[in-house]
């Protein structure tokens, strides 16, 4: 007779078979049997967070920077509801998470028991799938299925809800065999005919552009390598969404910078005027397209995506190719090599005018700002941080707001998986716990959370986690005492009515750092900035860096609401001539 294992033991057996090394979690009544079992499994390390939302974001940071699924363990009721924000965030940004939650014993479900909530009901719309385990015999099958669903196709979060009595019950654990056959929800059956059609469009195009997104990163590091090869083989310009930054080197001449609401002048104009748009792993998000009726009116659009429901959801495309980015790009390169070995040469002449035009747009230098000798400009702070850390294989996370956009504009990434930011859901408080997860995955690397003082306060308690596990994360706060992006919109669109966007009582971040047992550094003037940043980098402990920046600075360029891509609002100099009209206000 096979040895019988308890539900809690089976949970760990499954995690071991899935090669899980870290769990981010927080104990509570309904998961105690699982926590009791933790000591018997030395290959799995538990990271104790201070709030379940932090566990979720830390697991996201871990997953995004390592390519492996993040695992979260929380208790029933409030434990599960606290993790909902992180699950939704992971769902929007396609991050593979497996969340295991405790539930009240089966016989108490539905009785409004202590710490009971309808966890599978609450998380149904924010997971790819979820399960309530009602029979111990299903447990191992469900957990393995959960990992499969989370990591295949378009990745995303899943949740397994395990009642306490199931954690105690015993059954046998069948030997785990990793299936090669996928669950039938993965679509990677594109046709050579489609690739041929694309290559034909590419060879005809006079104004092409690659528009790449997070799908390239999710497809694995090889996809980024292939993308570089594809750009080199075609000589086409390339722009990237917020999530896609890093899949192509930010300082390469073919790279036009980020596109979208706060994207560069050249990227957005090229998107608007192109005759061939090749979308690779992006999803035509509203922050990218702006006004849909006037989005890139003259172009043929190609959309490469692994999720069939992304095709034609927001923008109708001419040639959809449903498949994994890596295999699709690989096919494109092979086809070009076979059918048009001299593509770059023959193509160079054809798109030279296009590059000339792009050069003119570039001359606008849309990311420029007026620097100052007295106050630190936030853009300058990010630029200095970049210059002083670029040789170190640095990992950057962010919170949400102006600082996030400045980080995206001025920090140049040249490798995938180095940039962790909450794009889809826009979760303030994402960056600090995400940095915890990134540092867990990469203990020796420099991990910096470029933060705003408002965002970081939402999950500041995770500094305590960083201290407990000696994670030398750097929280680089661009402190302007405002919810900067809210303030900016109020200035531009709501007649400077700064309703509730100023934080009148902020903590002293240096003292706060000391209270948590980490290091606090403050920079007040541009002169001292470099020295302080170097001090931060050289500190082998967690640091909160309070960078006091210009309080009035706005994030430009910006596509004012209601306008298409080719009508951007540039920096302070340009603004005078380009006031937002009444109609534009509706659109932010």
């Amino acid at each position: 007779m096979p040895k019988l294992l308890s539900g809690a033991e089976i949970v760990f057996k499954c995690l071991e078979d899935q090669n899980v090394e870290f769990i981010f979690g927080y104990p509570g009544g309904a998961v105690l049997p699982i926590y009791d079992e933790l000591k018997n499994h030395s290959s799995i390390k538990h990271i104790l967070v201070r709030h379940e939302q932090g566990a979720g974001h830390a697991a996201e940071g871990y997953a995004r920077s390592s390519g492996k699924p993040g695992v979260v363990l929380v208790t029933s009721g409030p434990g599960a509801t606290n993790v909902v924000t992180a699950l939704t965030d992971a769902y929007m940004d396609s991050v593979p998470l497996v969340c295991i939650s405790g539930q009240v014993p089966t016989h108490l479900i539905g009785t409004d028991a202590f710490q009971e909530c309808d966890t599978t009901g609450i998380t149904r719309p924010c997971t790819k799938h979820n399960w309530l385990v009602k029979d111990i015999k299903d447990l191992s099958k469900i957990i393995h299925k959960a990992f499969e669903v989370a990591t295949t196709g378009r990745p995303g979060p899943v949740l397994v809800d395990i009642p306490k009595d199931i954690q105690f019950q015993k059954t046998d654990y069948p030997k785990f065999k990793k299936k090669n056959k996928l669950n039938g929800k993965v679509h990677n059956h594109f046709l050579q005919k489609e690739i041929d059609e694309l290559v034909k469009l590419m060879s005809k195009s006079k104004k092409p552009i690659f528009y790449t997104g997070g799908g390239v990163i999710n497809s694995g590091p090889k996809a980024s390598e292939l993308l570089r090869e594809l750009v080199a083989a075609t000589g086409f310009p390339i722009t990237s969404t917020l999530q896609g930054l890093g899949c192509f080197p930010g300082d390469d001449n073919n790279f036009l910078g980020m596109l979208g609401m706060h994207g560069t002048y050249e990227a957005n104009n090229a998107m608007h005027d192109c005759d061939l748009m090749i979308n690779i792993g992006a999803r035509f998000d509203d922050r990218i397209t702006g006004k849909i009726d006037e989005f890139s009116p003259k172009s043929k659009k190609v959309h490469i995506d692994i999720d069939p429901s992304s095709i034609n959801k927001n923008i109708k495309v001419d040639l959809p190719i449903v498949g994994d980015v890596q295999s699709v790009i690989s096919s494109i390169i092979k086809t070009i090599k076979r059918t048009k070995p001299n593509f770059v040469k023959s193509n160079k002449q054809q798109i030279s005018k296009w590059w000339e035009q792009i050069g003119k747009w570039r001359e606008k230098k849309s990311l420029d700002y007026i620097n100052s000798n007295e106050t630190i400009k936030p853009q300058y702070a990010v630029q200095r941080l970049y210059e002083l850390t670029k040789n170190k294989d640095t990992f950057i996370t962010t919170e949400v707001g102006q600082h996030q956009m400045w980080a995206a504009q001025h920090y140049k990434f040249d490798k995938p998986n180095r940039w962790m930011t909450s794009g889809g859901l826009g979760t303030m408080g994402y960056g600090l716990p995400a940095a915890v997860g990134v540092q867990i995955a990469h203990p020796k690397k420099l991990v910096v959370d470029i933060a705003g003082e408002a965002s970081v306060l939402m999950t500041i308690q995770e500094m305590s986690t960083a201290v407990q596990y000696n994670l030398p994360i750097k929280i680089f706060i661009l402190n302007n005492e405002y919810m900067g992006m809210v303030r900016q919109w109020q200035e531009l669109l709501h007649e400077k009515n700064y309703s509730e966007s100023y934080t009148a009582a902020l903590p002293d971040f240096v003292k706060l750092a000391e209270a948590y047992g980490c290091v606090g550094i403050r920079a007040k003037t541009p002169d001292e900035l470099d020295d302080k940043i170097i001090e931060m980098i050289n500190t082998d402990r967690p640091v909160i860096f309070d960078c006091l920046v210009d309080k009035q600075e706005n994030c430009f360029p910006m596509i004012p609401s209601g306008k298409p891509h080719n009508q951007m609002l540039l920096g302070p100099k340009d603004q005078e001539q380009n006031k937002i009209t009444g109609k534009g206000k509706t659109l932010v």
Partner: protein
């Protein structure tokens, strides 16, 4: 009313709405209906009627029939989003005008009144496969099967013959001929 200041995109032009019947084959497990229905409500799709029951107890498969309206783009999204759900096996989509597909709804009518009125009611129901399920000297319950709009019309017109209660199902659908939907 002043215009809202806080919406990024303006809604595009209103397109024509079509009525479609979507048939979904799913694993018959706890919560599966909530997943399907939640997808519709969460993404703002419309449900006109819904019918669901297990059709294969051995394979544990249920068949859900949903009548919905939407632009061609929305109907496409409904199908693609449904196919992403883990317990969904296949999704079929029929236009209401499709002659190759049979659509039927069932309704139960309760009439209270004298013999004369009830006789007239039964007469009116006859062309819709009327079956008398219950009869007393004051009342009767009649079952009919028909199209949605026919039942709509009947339940309006039969008021005068003492119709006091209506209970009806959502539409179910099946293709004509020997083929089944793969």
């Amino acid at each position: 009313m002043t215009k809202s200041k806080s919406a990024y995109s303006v809604a595009g032009k209103k397109e024509k709405l079509d009525t479609h019947i979507i048939v979904v084959w799913v694993d018959n497990e706890a919560g599966v209906l909530a997943r399907v229905v939640g997808l519709f409500s969460g993404r703002g799709y419309n449900i006109e009627s819904l019918a669901v029951a297990e059709i294969d107890s051995k394979l544990n498969i249920s068949r859900i029939t949903i009548v919905t309206t939407g632009t061609p783009q929305v109907i496409d999204q409904i199908k693609l989003q449904l196919k992403k759900l883990v317990p969904v096996h296949k999704v079929a989509d029929f236009k209401r005008e499709d002659k190759q597909v049979i659509f039927k709804e069932m309704a139960l009518f309760k009439f209270v009144g004298n013999n004369n009125k009830r006789g007239k009611a039964l007469n009116a129901c006859k062309k819709y496969n009327a079956v008398i399920l219950d009869k007393t000297n004051k009342s009767c319950v009649i079952q009919i099967t028909a199209l949605r709009r026919e039942i709509d019309k009947m339940s309006k017109n039969l008021k005068k013959f003492g119709l006091i209660s209506v209970s009806r199902t959502g539409a179910v659908a099946m293709t004509r001929g020997a083929e089944t939907f793969k």
